[in-house]
Every structure is written in C-alpha cells, then in structure tokens.
C-alpha cells in the first residue's frame, strides 16, 4: 500500500524552494493565491491517488 512520503524526497531542496519563491515575486496577494491554487491542482493531478491526496490534505490541515 502506497503511503505519503514524509522523509526527504526532493532532489535539490534549495533549488526548488528558490524557484517556489521566485514565481511569486512581484505578485499581489490575489495573484499569489491564484498561482498557489493552480500549483496545488497541478500537483494533485500528478499524484492522482485519492488516498495520498487525502493524507496530504490532512497533513496540511494540521499546520493552520
């Protein structure tokens, strides 16, 4: 059974994080929200598995 990965899995974490911030540069709050929403949808589709998505949503919820 596949489970959500909670150990480090990103090849180049610093590169990814830099790019994540970069795409938001110069955007208004609403534009940033739009970009984030699209990013979530794109990644969710890539993952696809409802069980993993559900676990990810629950994990995220705890950080509110």
């Amino acid at each position: 059974m596949t489970q959500i990965i909670t150990t480090p899995n990103i090849d180049k974490p610093d590169d990814f994080y830099e790019q994540l911030l970069a795409i938001h540069e110069g955007l208004t709050k609403q534009q940033s929200d739009n970009v984030n929403a699209s990013l979530i949808l794109i990644l969710a589709n890539h993952i696809g598995d409802q069980k993993i998505l559900s676990e990810a949503l629950e994990m995220a919820k705890t950080t509110k």
Partner: protein
C-alpha cells in the same frame, strides 16, 4: 374554498362532484395520492397498471404553467417507458449531447456527453415539465380505458388528516365544500413545500443556499445550436455570477441568471429588466418573446425518513435539491419506481409492511447521493469564500489549456441512477460478474436479437438466465417469477455487460429493474432465499 395558486397549462380533470362527497360515512380507499405533479401522476399510473385501486387528489384541475424541470435522464425515461409513456416524450423532446463552458468572454472547453452506445433511450432529453406530465396523464387515460382502477379528482384539496393504526382519515375541501375519505395508504407527492408534511409537523432539514436565480424561458427562432452553454462570471452586462442557455422543444430556450442574495425580487422580475439582461446575452438583433419567468432560491434538504405510519412521501415532498444536475424530477420518478411494487406486494398480502421500510432506506440513500452531488455543483458555481473562488477560477483557467483540469469543472453533473449498495433487499454476491450489474444496480439496457432487454422486464420479478437454465413459472411465497432465457452467442453486448469472463449467469431482478441477487448457475434454494430477502418475507404467515 379551493384557492387557485397558479395558472393551468393543460386543463385535464375539471372538478365534478362524486358520491363520496354525499356518503353517510367516509368511503375507504386502498391508496390515495396527494398531488398531480409528475410524481403523483406517475405513482397513480404505476399502481393502477399493477391493478391497485388508486385515487389521486389535486387541488387544481390540470397541469401548471411554466417549464420548471426541463432535463429528463435516461433512467427516468426507462421508468416511464415501463409505464408506456416514453415514446411521446422522446418524440417531442430535444436530444442533446454537446455542451460548452465559458469563463467571462472566452470558451474554457466543449464536451460531448458521448453517451454509451447500445441503449434504447438517450442519456438525456430536454422537455418542459408540463409535457412530461401531460404524457403521463395520457398514459393514465389509456390505462383507465384498459380497466386500470385509477381515479383523479380535480380541485380536491387535502386540509387535514388523522392517522390511525391501519388507515388515515382525510378532510378534503372542494368547490362544493368539505368531505371525508379514508385511505389504507396515503402517498404525499405534494412538492417541496408539502402541505401534508406540514400538517404532520414533520421536519425537512438541510442547507439553504443564499443565492437567487432568475429563469427566463424565451421563445425565439434564432439559430443557436442545440447545446448546453454555461458561463462562469459572464461578461455580458447584468447576467450575474453565472448564466445558462439550454434548448427546449417549441423553439423555447431556458436562460438562467445567478443574481446573488440581496436583490429586489419585484424589480428583477419586471419584464423590461429581464429583457435588458437577455438582450445583453443574446445581442440586440435577436427577436424573442418572454414565455415564462421566475426567481428561485434553493435548498438541499430531506426528511429523516420517507415512511411515517400509513403516510409515504415521494419526490420533492421528501427531498429537495438544487437544479444543477437534473436530480429533482428524475429522482422523484425513481422514488415511484421503488415504491409501487413494494406497496403492491404489501397490499396483496405477499410481503409484510416492513418491506416499505426498504423504500425509505433505499431512497434516503439515493437522496443523500443526490444532495451531495447537487451541493458540490452549487459550491463550484457559487463559491462561498475567497479561497473557494480562487480555486474555482484557477480550475477554469487551467481547464482552458490543460485537459486534466476539466473533470474538476462542475456546472452540474449528469444525473445517474442510484445503485442500492448495501440495501437490506440485496443478497450476498459471491460471483466475479461485472461490477456495473451488481446487486442493487439498475439493469443496464442491452440490445436483444429482436428488441431491448428492459422491454422484457416490465411485469414483476424476473430470473434472467444467460447460457444457464432455470424452470419456468417459479412461484415463491405467492410471488410469481418470470424466466427470461438468453444466449450470449446471440447477444454479445448483453454478454459483455452481464457475464464478463464468466461462462453463465443467473440474475434475480426486482420489479423496478434493479438486481436483487446473482449467481453463476441455477440453485433453487439460493433463489428462494434471495426472493425472501428481496420481498422481506421469511415465509411465515403475514
């Protein structure tokens, strides 16, 4: 006094005095149906065709004006087909497959319903509700000619009722004053604001959506295609947050505008204000007439259970959904389908009263599914928070460019028939036969050598044997079971849908064309057991 609450499109059953009104004591009827809408009429017809005497009381003398429900789904059509009323509907109705979704002034994508092939009836037709009702009424007239015990009394309004252990006393108002009748069973098909439900003080809980929708049905000969067009945040002036354009017969077009919560109803309903919105949508050059207009708000809610002693609720009186997804009238027709055969068995003494609990059980589950679907569509169309609007608009932006986001766009989902998974009438399934035809599922139609499968399953319980043998004329606990024997060789589509990889199969099918049980081969004991489960009758004296 029987107040006139609305205008009549077709006057069908004018008031006439009957003997019951001057009888010394109240006449007892087997079944009384309250309400002459699509659900009440279909209930009367289904019971009447089964030979159960039924009296329908309606406080008007015909069918109400206004298109109201316009989308009828395949399963509802198959049910009215069993009642002999479907051909006229499909002949008159508009069959459609194509839809377009717009965001502001640009197209997000278009879709084709691509209905599965090899079904007799189309996935959907558009037909204004008064026609749907009229064709069922004509079915009632034909049934009466052939001896079906159906009576309709116009301008007879239920004003109060008293429940006893095994019957109900009804006070009925007419233009000639009050009278009383009694009913062994009362079926309330009197709509979302059901007076019967209110008289009984029963709850109707759920969610109210803070939004107003303006409907304008316009008559025009303009050359718009037969497609469903839906706009999110349309750019044409005054259209509100969403808009819909959908074709009906008689050159009529349904237009819906989502106006928001704080509106001045009277002002918005003024013809000149409606025309301003429609002009902006269709363009100034288009000639049209306003045929019917209305402003509605909506709720998603249901009764806790649909059976209360001798009173049974069906259709909108029992459950109400938003219009997105065509799950109102379509689910009401499935209520009728589910209820009629059960009530017949109970009245004929072939099943215990407890069988009717399964009506409530199965149709409450279906209502939950419909409410969930309709709520999801509504939450997409009318986002309730900033973040839900952000997600909604991101979905629309992505959908324009990327196919993956299109399944997330929700302007109303296709109304699919309920599958009664987990129903107490289902027998355990130990086969690996196809999932779609499991116990609880409605029969999927299939072409036969000389006709269609569903047309063979219109009169009670059936044992469908594919490449398997079973005795003819089985009778268990007084219930007849018809045998239908078919070969996979002559029927490849049937084999695909009902056998899968198996060599043979036997299906026990309920009178509402839902699967009750299935096996690979004939086994008398198993079939007896399954029929007892499906009729809630363990064989003891009732």
């Amino acid at each position: 006094m029987v107040d006139v609450r609305y205008n009549i499109a077709f006057k069908l059953y004018p008031y006439a005095q009957v003997k019951d009104q001057t009888a010394d004591k109240p006449k007892r009827h087997k079944v009384v149906v309250i309400g002459g809408g699509p659900i009440g009429l279909a209930t009367a017809l289904d019971l009447g065709l089964k030979g159960i005497p039924v009296l329908l009381l309606d406080d008007h003398d015909g069918i109400s004006m206004g298109s109201k429900a316009i989308c009828f789904s395949k399963r509802a059509l198959e049910i009215v087909d069993r009642l002999g009323c479907c051909d006229a509907m499909v002949d008159k109705g508009v069959v459609w497959n194509l839809g377009k979704v717009f965001h502001k002034d640009s197209k997000v994508y278009d879709f084709n319903l691509l209905a599965e092939k090899h079904h007799y009836r189309p996935a959907f037709i558009n037909l204004q509700q008064p026609y749907f009702e009229k064709y069922i009424f004509e079915g009632i007239e034909r049934a009466i000619e052939n001896g079906a015990p159906i009576e309709i009394r116009g301008r007879n309004r239920l004003t109060s009722l008293v429940q006893h252990d095994d019957y109900v006393t009804l006070d009925v108002d007419t233009p000639d004053g009050q009278y009383q009748v009694e009913a062994d069973w009362l079926i309330a098909c009197d709509g979302a604001s059901s007076p019967t439900r209110k008289m009984m003080g029963l709850g109707f809980e759920g969610r109210i959506f803070e939004d107003n929708f303006l409907i304008a049905d316009v008559k025009m000969t303009a050359d718009f295609p037969t497609e469903r067009w839906f706009w999110f945040e349309p750019s044409f002036k005054g259209s509100g947050h969403s808009a819909l354009l959908h074709k009906q017969p008689d050159n009529l077009w349904r237009i819906d505008f989502q106006l928001g919560w704080d509106i001045d109803r009277e002002k918005e309903l003024k013809p000149e204000n409606i025309r301003a919105r429609v002009d902006a949508m269709l363009g100034d050059k288009v000639d049209y007439e306003l045929e019917w207009t209305s402003i509605y708000t909506f709720q998603c809610r249901r009764m806790e259970k649909f059976l209360h002693g001798r009173v049974i609720f069906a259709g909108d009186s029992a459950h109400q959904v938003s219009p997105f997804g065509a799950r109102g009238a379509n689910s009401g027709i499935q209520d009728v389908d589910n209820l009629a055969w059960k009530l017949q068995l109970v009245i004929e003494g072939k099943a215990p009263k407890s069988l009717l609990n399964s009506y409530s059980e199965e149709r409450v589950a279906a209502a939950n599914e419909n409410i969930s679907n309709s709520t999801r569509a509504t939450d997409f169309i009318t986002p309730k928070s900033d973040i839900s609007k952000t997600f909604r608009n991101s979905v629309l932006k992505l959908a324009k460019q990327y196919e993956f986001a299109r399944p997330l766009v929700n302007s109303g989902r296709l109304s699919l028939p309920a599958i009664y998974d987990g129903s107490s009438l289902n027998s355990a399934d130990t086969t690996n036969l196809p999932d779609r035809t499991r116990a609880g599922a409605p029969i999927t139609d299939a072409p036969l050598a000389d006709g269609w499968l569903l047309h063979q399953l219109t009169n009670g319980f059936y044992l469908m044997c594919i490449d398997a043998k079973a005795p003819n004329n089985l009778k268990i606990n007084g219930i007849d079971i018809n045998t239908l024997t078919l070969s996979s060789k002559d029927h490849p589509i049937l084999a695909e849908r009902y056998l899968g990889d198996a060599k043979s199969a036997i299906y026990l099918i309920r009178p509402d064309q839902h699967v009750a049980a299935r096996w690979y081969e004939y086994n008398a004991d198993e079939i007896t057991k399954a029929l007892k489960i499906a009729s809630n009758n363990n064989g003891k004296a009732l």
